[in-house]
């Protein structure tokens, strides 16, 4: 049971400008949280703090009652995996098989177990036929799926996606979202960083960052009604939602119906 808690976390790269300011978040097991924000709002910085790539100046990250520190980083990374934006810059292996194995090798998992895990998770993300292929022969979407398989094979139960779909074409993007939905249905906690509201529609809950602060933290339905708060953070709601939010003299039950159908992802 992974519960992720971010307590009063602040971070600065230079010591001058605070990039994250007193971030307070509690993410329950199995939740799907979208973290939305304009360019430079601190989303990636937050993601790196969560997996211990950056050390905050104050505040803490707590996973299952374990406080993230140099000592616990290794244990915490067994629970939280992260997929980054650029498919090419996270592919470590010479082949797909190598790359899926990389994390398991680091954990010292025995060879036989690795082989069966690789088969299982490659099948799951649809790269089973490509195990011996080199990264230069794969598409961006395939590379991202390989990255997911490599993390799944480490048996994490939280997955952070830092704009993991932003370099993909619409088709590959949809495909990847399908896989993520499947993972979510199997109980994986999903933290999806994006500046694309369409993508946030998949989430249960939306957290909006603005200038390094939590600007809005609400259920998806709640958040999407707040056109103004979103605009303040430099985010633009899809046209359909803006129209719906703008219509005031509509029968409430009708409005509910239209809302529900918009969210029918």
């Amino acid at each position: 049971m992974s519960k992720l808690e971010i307590n009063d976390l602040s971070f600065t790269y230079t010591g001058k400008r605070m990039i994250l300011k007193n971030i307070q978040l509690q993410i329950q097991k199995g939740e799907w949280v979208a973290i939305l924000g304009h360019n430079g709002s601190g989303k990636s910085t937050l993601a790196k703090c969560i997996v211990g790539l950056l050390e905050p100046q104050s505040g803490s990250v707590v996973v299952d009652d374990m406080v993230l520190s140099h000592k616990t980083a290794y244990e915490i990374r067994k629970k939280i995996g992260i997929v980054f934006q650029n498919p090419d810059n996270q592919f470590v292996g010479v082949t797909v098989r190598d790359d899926i194995a990389f994390g398991m090798e680091n954990l010292g998992i025995p060879k036989d177990q690795m082989i069966s895990s690789i088969d299982f998770y490659a099948e799951k993300v649809g790269v089973k036929e490509m195990l011996d292929k080199e990264p230069s022969t794969l598409s961006g979407g395939q590379k991202q799926r390989v990255a997911i398989a490599g993390i799944l094979a480490m048996h994490t139960d939280v997955m952070v996606f830092d704009e993991a779909t932003s370099m993909l074409d619409p088709y590959a993007r949809n495909e990847l979202m399908q896989y993520i939905q499947e993972l979510h249905q199997e109980g994986m906690t999903i933290l999806m960083i994006t500046h694309d509201i369409e993508e946030a529609l998949y989430a249960d809950r939306i957290v909006v960052l603005k200038g390094g602060e939590v600007h809005l933290d609400a259920s998806k339905e709640e958040a999407l009604r707040q056109t103004e708060r979103m605009t303040e953070a430099g985010l633009e709601l899809p046209v359909s939602l803006r129209i719906l939010n703008g219509v005031t003299n509509l029968d409430p039950s009708w409005k509910e119906y239209l809302w529900a159908s918009t969210f029918d992802k």
């Binding site: 010292g108 080199e134 990264p135």
Partner: protein
């Protein structure tokens, strides 16, 4: 950029494919040492014959290997002429007075232009180059008109020719051997083999596992970086840069305009890669389990016996 074939693994199933990478690396070192023990042309020709037999046993296409030699053709030519020009021992075979004057210089310029124009029409390769060299020889030796600017003796000695042939054949065999290695060994196996062979270096503080990881990551990024160079070149060509033409100064400018973005991207890349590795629990120096295991088989023993036998033969010949 696309025709760099040195070090390319090609899937197959001959004898060499069944060998452990460690065996192949060791055998190649042993064979190279043997090769450098050889002193006479006859011995070298025997070695060449053995190399060809080995290729045939391994069911490797000789055509493929020869094609793989293309990129180092210039190196071979250079080695050849270097020996011919600078080795002045043995009987004098050729002593030709050469002179540079209006006519010969004009002929050389004409020949060069012709050769380059042909190359541009894709009539490149060895034959036009040899004809070009022949034209140079004839022009310098026999054409003379007006005042002579400068003249010199072009001399070829017996030993010079012999050495140059000897050195070129030896180089050919060495390159063939290493091509066999890279042609029949997956990059992962190659680095794994090196990792295991270099393990004893731990005593002098070198971690062979990290070394192998560095090599395999470099291998993995070569195509990506070439691809990137291509993209940057295209982008710059679309803005009017022409990488095949221009004065030297222009060319230097263009190369810099290619290198600067490539370095910037490479730095960003390495940082992101380091993050990705760390987030997947990579800790430098910490023992890792490995997905690949290397095991010696019957074939390896055969290969060891053959290469040790050849080394023993080379040593014996020198001692007798």
């Amino acid at each position: 950029m696309k025709n760099i074939v040195i070090g390319q693994f090609v899937p197959g199933s001959g004898f060499f494919y069944k060998l452990d990478p460690r065996t192949k690396i060791m055998a190649i070192i042993v064979l190279m040492v043997s090769l450098f023990l050889l002193k006479t042309m006859t011995q070298l020709l025997v070695a060449l014959a053995i190399a060809v037999i080995l290729l045939l046993i391994g069911k490797l296409s000789i055509v493929r290997i020869v094609k793989g030699l293309k990129p180092i053709f210039v190196l071979l030519i250079f080695t050849f002429f270097f020996q011919i020009f600078f080795n002045k021992t043995g009987a004098l075979w050729l002593d030709q007075t050469m002179s540079l004057n209006w006519l010969s210089a004009g002929a050389i310029v004409l020949a060069t232009v012709l050769w380059r124009v042909l190359a541009r029409w894709k009539v490149g390769g060895i034959l036009p180059f040899l004809i070009y060299l022949g034209l140079l020889y004839v022009s310098l030796s026999y054409l003379s008109y007006g005042s002579t600017w400068t003249s010199f003796q072009f001399q070829i000695y017996e030993k010079g020719v012999e050495m140059s042939v000897f050195v070129v054949i030896r180089l050919l065999i060495i390159i063939t051997l290493s091509t066999v290695l890279t042609l029949t060994t997956k990059p992962t196996d190659l680095t794994m083999g090196m990792e295991k062979l270099l393990r004893p270096l731990k005593f002098i503080g070198i971690n062979s596992e990290e070394f192998a990881l560095i090599i395999s990551i470099s291998l993995r990024y070569i195509p990506t970086i070439l691809d990137e160079a291509n993209k940057i070149m295209l982008a710059q060509a679309s803005r009017g840069a022409d990488f095949s033409q221009g004065k030297l100064k222009e060319k230097v400018k263009q190369v810099i305009s290619l290198l600067v973005p490539m370095f910037i991207i490479a730095f960003k890349r390495s940082e992101e890669l380091a993050d990705a590795m760390e987030s997947r629990n990579f800790v430098p120096g910490k023992p890792r389990s490995r997905i690949y295991d290397l095991v010696f088989g019957m074939n390896d023993i055969v290969a060891f016996v053959i290469s040790a036998g050849l080394l023993a033969a080379a040593i014996t010949i020198q001692v007798i």
